[in-house]
Amino acid sequence: MSSPAARRERALLLMGLPALLLLGVLFAWPVLRLLSMSVEDGSLEHLQRAVLDDLYLAVLFDSLKIAGFVTVICLVIAYPLAFWLSRASKIGLALGMFALLLPFWTSVLVRTYAWMVLLGRSGVINRMLRDWGLIESPLPLLHNLGGVLIGMVHVLLPYMVLPIYAALLRIDPDLPRAAEGLGAPRSAIFRRVILPLSLPGVAAGCALVFVLSLGFFITPALLGGGRVIMIAMLIEQQVRELLDWPFAAALSVVLLAVTLAIYAAINRLTKGARLAS
């Protein structure tokens, strides 16, 4: 006769088993199988090419650079927004959440299409600026880095706002009140009480946005117009056009390794920040 605790554990395991099987067969297996293709023929040649060739290295650095830009821009926009949301009235909060979540739930494709309509040479923004006599010839807003950044920030901003907002809500309101009672000016309360306590949310948001933007595919493919190449687009091209599976696999190894390393590094930083605060 087994103990109730052991029986309980067995029942719980049984509940989780179907989902774990699905994740094993349709997630872990395909990913590991793909990664192993990079060394399928017993040589490290493909991996070496992915890491050492200047051309592919440049794409990797471009992807890291774009992911870094997107993360910084999102943070700069999201922090004040989350701060405002955390102190907004009930109506303000409801409207704000609606404006944040409606785009968040709307297809990336719909939004990317809309940005093409807005930013194109004869798009809405250029058209308006010209009608108002502000510009002579259309500004190049699309098919360049700027266009890609606008589109990506639009997609990823909620991933930054929501964790920071949640972290701000978790701060005990007595803490800023106590600081105020002790005579601290508002700027000091923000800098020395609110900001440090919200850092775990900031780190979580940064990790998520950086990692998601590193693997981005649709937005740069459509808004970059072929002039902005990110590593996910390179992988797709290897499979689709060149049918070079081992090299696509090698690039996947690099992308996944960088992704996991950065995610782990930011998570470790968070733990440090939590201990310090």
Binding site: F27, L34, V117, A167, G215
Partner: protein, 269 residues
């Protein structure tokens, strides 16, 4: 806090900034509305006149309708599967006291972190061998992998806030464990489950990267849109977009009504 003047200006600036960001967020959604009702035969802004022609073209074209129905089927099956598998999984991940459980927790959350392109081509090579490319249920099952983390995070959060002694009370009164979960626990998890269900549906309905590789000639709606955007930007896509935005707005409205805003805490983990 006492309203001092510097704080007043600061608050005002903050509110102005927030408004600008909300305009930035809503602008792309709003701009497709006038374009979808345009009477021009190509993309023109402002539209010269009103017409329903792009909606007629969308709803009158069997290609568009087929891919819309296909995406609905896929999203419905994905929602059912991810709830049936994901809710019990949340019980395991939240309640088990096994030592290695955090590892399974990481595995279940991994599809968010691992770039979708890697999973997509990994699945592509397997599905091609099994001749599953173009089968709608194949895509639905693959989408389930992507939707499971959302279900697990939302339902897991609901479950953590649930007082397990209620279940034990029911068992003490003679109910079986299964009955206690079905009649006591699950009804109280309904708000998180509704949010999770809508999120799973929308995430599958919108998904492109996996569908790009697995759908073959049987295009899903996002794949059809992607191809159309690459070839020509005609206002049919604006009509499709407006239809999708309205669908999302309805889902979001229902979630806020019945889901108790559980979504705001979704990504806070």
């Amino acid at each position: 806090m006492p309203p001092d003047r510097r704080g007043g200006i600061g608050n005002w600036l903050l509110a102005a900034f927030a408004t600008l960001v909300f305009i930035f967020l809503m602008l792309p959604l709003l701009v497709v509305f006038p374009i979808s009702f345009s009477s021009a035969s190509y993309l023109q802004f402002p539209p010269p006149g009103f017409s329903w022609q792009w909606y007629q073209r969308y709803f009158g074209d069997p290609d568009w309708i087929d891919s819309t129905i296909r995406s609905f089927q896929i999203a419905a099956l994905c929602t059912a599967l991810s709830m049936l598998l994901g809710v019990p999984l949340s019980f395991l991940l939240v309640r088990s006291r096994r030592r290695g459980i955090w590892l399974l927790d990481r595995l279940a959350a991994a599809p968010i972190i691992v770039p979708t392109i890697i999973l997509s081509i990994g699945l592509y090579s397997i599905f091609a061998r099994l001749q599953l490319i173009g089968e709608w249920y194949g895509i639905a099952v693959a989408h389930t992998v992507l939707a499971l983390p959302f279900v697990m995070i939302l339902v897991g959060a609901g479950l953590r806030g649930f007082d397990e002694s209620q279940e034990q009370a029911a068992i003490g009164l003679g109910a079986s464990w299964a009955t206690a979960i079905l009649r006591i626990t699950l009804p109280q998890l309904r708000p998180s489950m509704i949010s999770a269900g809508f999120l799973a549906f929308i995430s599958s309905f919108d998904e492109l990267v996996v569908a790009m590789f697995l759908s073959g000639a049987e295009k899903t709606l996002p794949k059809k849109m992607f191809d159309n955007i690459l070839m020509e930007i005609d206002p049919t896509i604006a009509a499709v977009s407006v239809t999708q935005i309205l669908l999302v707005a309805v889902c979001l409205g229902l979630t806020t009504l019945f889901g108790k805003g559980a979504l705001a805490t979704t990504l806070s983990r």
